[in-house]
Symmetry: C2
Subunit: 287 residues, 2 copies
């Protein structure tokens, strides 16, 4: 029986840990807020009072944390995963962080970077897309665990490659939301029936998941997250740093990063990222 | 029996006219190059030696032409559609042109603007997306004809609205190609397995038709059109003019228009628009 230590039981980590319990794994969870630990215990898991307590007996440690510094502290810090886990334990870091941080961690312990896409609903349904970087044998060893939380689980390369693909994912998602936002404001300004337009746009080469899942809420100016502007702003910082590191020029990526930064700077960090349509409306004097 | 006059039997118009013959309409076609007229005759249609000859007996006239000046000349010019068609004949203009030109034509005769999306394959399969502007009763009268060439046929508003939605379509398509191009060059530079990455990106919120249909060819740098850069460059001019007219600011639309313009200016107008990946590679010193 594989024992899993799970650190970070938030919007994404909570349902992922619960799905692992459901799949028959022994899961011991830790979160700074005790209420989230209690939720895992209610779902049939074990609660721990510290990172050390969650990972001490674990064969596999999963982390799902907000940003690079959180992962560095929890994994490499004193009282962290590396200091307390069994020798040979495997870390699966599902956080979205900088690829170079993932590579640095993989230099210190057996580790996969395994960021996810699909949002809260994907986490609840156990249907996440998971892009995995690391050694092939570690990927094989982790496959049952990843399949318990993911629908599309793909090994994309060596350590850090999962984060690199996740960065590309966040670039495409932000850019597509902005393209749909510009199109919708353009259609509204011309007095076109946006519901009919969304239908016909979805049927052709312009078709995408943002039109399918988000355009209707964007037309309604309904921005309950979903995925928050402040997190996507953080992710676009990762995209830009990783592109600079590789010497790759990303004109649309850079432009949408600026727009997301403006939305965040104007105090809308807690809204869903579909709120980019508000910024296009603002820039066009149509608020 | 509805008689159709069809002007413009090129890559798109040719198979559309053939599908109308197959659906049982009497189609008389005209094209400047006689070889394309002969192809329609081989498919069971009638050939004409002039616009006048194609439209004289027609109940419905369909035009499928490259650009706004072509449509203005063929429809409004002497020896054109308006001068030669029967009173009350309905024009269905399937060209992608400026919305204001469509509105001007609709002020002179019964007309629908009905630009299409879906490319040569969609035209051959009779499965185009068609975005239709004009009077509701004219849309109803044309529905059987449009259904014979289209899969998703939607009435989106008054005269010009079809062109406005097509402009939005071209904005989203160009922008999505560029986002995928930036992502692929970024992944290549980081040494990531792009086939695996395309698979996992397609499974999440980043999923779109460009990843499904074009990304593999872009990775191979295979740019047989498909849809040519020079035409998409023309269309992005329409998008920018129509956005300015409505006072709408489109930061990503403007940026991708510049990139497509550069590709065209560098002599790549005859390549498929997926060639945007070559420009990203060039900008990144990775050719």
């Amino acid at each position: 029986m594989t024992k899993i230590g799970f650190i970070g039981l938030g919007i994404m980590g909570g349902p992922m840990a619960a799905n692992l319990v459901k799949a028959g794994f022994e899961v011991t969870g830790y979160n700074r807020s005790r209420a989230k630990v209690d939720r895992l215990v209610d779902a049939g898991g074990e609660g721990a009072a510290s990172v050390a307590g969650a990972v001490r007996d674990a064969d596999v440690v999963i982390t799902m944390l907000p940003d690079s510094p959180d992962v560095q502290a929890v994994v490499l810090g004193e009282d962290g995963v590396l200091a307390n886990a069994k020798p040979g334990a495997l870390l699966i870091d599902c956080s979205t962080i900088r690829p170079d941080v993932s590579r640095a961690i993989a230099g210190r312990m057996r580790a996969l970077d395994a960021p996810v896409s699909g949002g809260e609903q994907g986490a609840i349904d156990g249907n996440l897309s998971i892009m995995v970087g690391g050694a092939a044998e570690d990927f094989e060893a982790a496959k049952d665990i990843l399949d318990a939380v993911g629908g599309t689980v793909v090994h994309v390369g060596a350590a850090g490659a999962g984060q690199t693909v996740k960065a590309a994912n966040q670039l495409i998602v932000a850019g597509t939301i902005e393209l749909v936002a510009e199109s919708l404001v353009f259609l509204e300004a011309h007095g076109v029936d946006t519901d009919a337009a969304i239908k016909v746009l979805s049927g052709g080469l312009a078709g995408n998941r943002i039109l399918d899942r988000k355009a209707a809420a964007m037309v309604q100016r309904e921005f309950t997250p979903g995925f928050r502007v402040e997190l996507h702003h953080k992710d676009l910082g990762i995209v830009q740093a990783a592109a600079r590191e590789a010497g790759v020029v990303i004109p649309l990526g850079a432009a949408v990063a600026q727009l997301m930064a403006s939305l965040n700077a104007q105090g809308h960090g807690a809204l869903d990222h579909g709120a980019l349509i508000e910024l296009v409306a603002q820039l066009s004097g149509r608020e």
